[in-house]
Amino acid sequence: MRGPFAGALAVATAVVLAFLLLPIVAIFVDIPPGRLIDGLTDPAAVDALLVTLKTTLIANALILLFGTPAAYLIATRSFRAKPLLVTAVELPLVLPPAVAGIGLIAAFGRFGLLGGTLGFLGLEIAFTQVAVVFAVMFVASPFYLRAAISAFEAVDPALTGAARTLGAGPARTFFRVALPLAAGGLGAGWALSFARGIGEFGATIMFAGSLQGVTQTLSLAVYEQFDVDFEIALAIGAELVVISAFLLLAVKLVPSWTHSSSPSTTLSAPFASR
């Protein structure tokens, strides 16, 4: 295949690759590697990493703990309102981050829907680490839920049926058959959700603020340091690139029993706050 058309294809591909990779490469080559390492040891960067690790781990643990059984239930029951329910679960995926932020404030803020009740119990959520966890869970869990629902739906009902006729109750069937068979899809969905959580910005800054050492995550720190010390901002940016690239690789390489069912291994959904 030679000629003007093939040439045009090659040029378009080169433009796309250059455009997408140039900013990423620039982060690493704009300053010498030594200074990049120095930037990472700055207290603001260290604090941001610790806050991010803590909130992301808690948020993801909760996403897995509640999301997995919820996805299994939705995937294995057929009921009339199911499409509606799935749409509701997916809605935060397409919501602008600012809307997510204002929604969280309206629900859990001091003057929000549950604010009075929470305040009465002596709980304050907005502008605490709990708020960071909430914001991450709100924007990231739909990625996991959506993938988990399709992963569980892809498990052949004959296999879970076979488990039941072989004497396994519903719980044993879930842990011994459905969960291992859906593991590939769950892992892929979880990596996406994890990546989305790490990158969370808009809802967090509105609902949790950007207090260093308390609610300032890596993404927020990049934005803050951009005004203060560009090199530290670059260093944190580089750190986030490495983490994200690692997660993307994990999504691609995650093993899957259900060959065809591994849901959306491309990052197709909007990453609005990046």
Binding site: D156, A158, G161, A162, R164, T165, L166, L181, W257
Partner: protein
């Protein structure tokens, strides 16, 4: 041994499944076209499908009684269900699959089904016949009181099928469990089961020994499903106390059965003889036609002549030098000609 009793009434997509069966220590085959509701019967017995109305009981243990609100979950019904595509767990090895049903007899079962050497293999890496043996071993690991087989041979290639059918027949004879198997193949049903029920659109049209079904098919569907030629025609009383059927396809034929009006004329391929010229013999029915196709099946040849299929030995086909397009005479006796109501 206990008797399995079941009555089911359940709406499927385009018809109602309405079945009543009772089986003791025997193998009963439900045979019918795909989508006839066969698998739903098995699923209802196993507890994987809850019928709108029904009762399933093994001896004095009631598994399901919609009137009394009894519905035991599958894990509390003593059934071994072998799924159509075997439904082996792809993430477990052969030993893990068999042990899933019960750990006590794993080694014994692996030995018995000659799959010990495959214990560490994954289901995806073994042959169809081996998979079937694993599925049977797994179903029996739970020591079930009832065995249910869903199309146990359909996932196998023609070569393996014959061998596995023989093995399965031996196994069933040995187990002496109430066994319900469903298949779309009448030959498989006849080879494996004591009694055969022909099921169409959720209803059992006829239930009896395979030989009974062949000798007296209840209607045109049963006749054609059991392998008979089915010709449509109009019956009236003829000479010598025989019934004459004027065939829609042209010509007429005689039967010793009595009938009047629209009927199906059923004659089995092995009752049809072929000759070059009209023979002088005891057969009353002679149809002259062109040979449309010849299909060799081992030592037999299936020959399509006009509207009929005849089965003759390979040697006879050679002796007559049968070839496509040639005119032959197909003969069959009035005593071998069944008249059945059209379905």
């Amino acid at each position: 041994m206990d008797t399995l009793e079941l009555t089911l009434d359940h709406a499927l997509r385009s018809f109602r499944l309405s079945v009543a069966l009772e089986l003791g220590c025997e193998t009963l085959a439900l045979v019918g076209p795909s989508g006839a509701g066969k698998s739903s019967v098995l699923r209802a017995i196993a507890g994987l499908l809850r019928p709108e109305r029904g009762r399933v009981a093994l001896g004095r243990a009631t598994w399901l009684d919609t009137d009394l609100g009894v519905d035991l979950p599958p894990e509390r019904r003593s059934v071994g269900l072998v799924f159509q595509e075997y439904a082996l767990f792809p993430h477990l090895d052969v030993r893990g699959n068999v042990a899933f049903g019960g750990r006590g007899r794993v080694d014994e079962l692996l030995e018995r089904f000659r799959i010990s050497h495959l214990a560490a293999a994954r289901p995806g890496d073994i042959s169809g016949g081996e998979r079937q043996r694993v599925a049977l071993a797994r179903a029996l690991a739970r020591d079930p009181a009832v065995l249910l087989l869903d199309e146990p041979l359909s996932a196998l290639d023609a070569h393996t099928r014959g061998v596995v059918r023989g093995e399965l027949a031996e196994l069933l004879a040995e187990l002496r469990l109430p066994t319900l198997l469903v298949t779309h193949d009448f030959e498989d049903a006849a080879a494996l089961a004591h009694r055969v029920g022909v099921i169409v659109e959720g209803r059992i049209l006829q239930l009896g020994a395979a030989a009974e079904l062949l000798a007296a098919p209840a209607d045109g569907f049963v006749a054609s499903f059991t392998g008979a030629n089915l010709l449509h025609g109009t019956a009236r009383s003829g000479a010598d106390g025989l019934t004459e059927v004027v065939l829609d396809a042209g010509g007429s034929a005689f039967s010793t059965d009595h009938a009047e009006g629209r009927v199906g004329l059923a004659v089995y391929p092995w009752e049809v003889a072929l000759a070059r010229n009209e023979p002088v013999d005891s057969a009353v029915n002679h149809l002259r036609g062109e040979v449309r196709s010849l299909v060799a099946l081992g030592n037999r040849v299936r020959v399509r002549v006009g509207p009929l299929t005849a089965e003759v030995t390979a040697a006879s086909a050679e002796r007559l030098a049968l070839a496509e397009g040639e005119l032959v005479v197909a003969s069959f006796k009035a005593t071998a000609t069944r008249l059945v109501p059209l379905a």
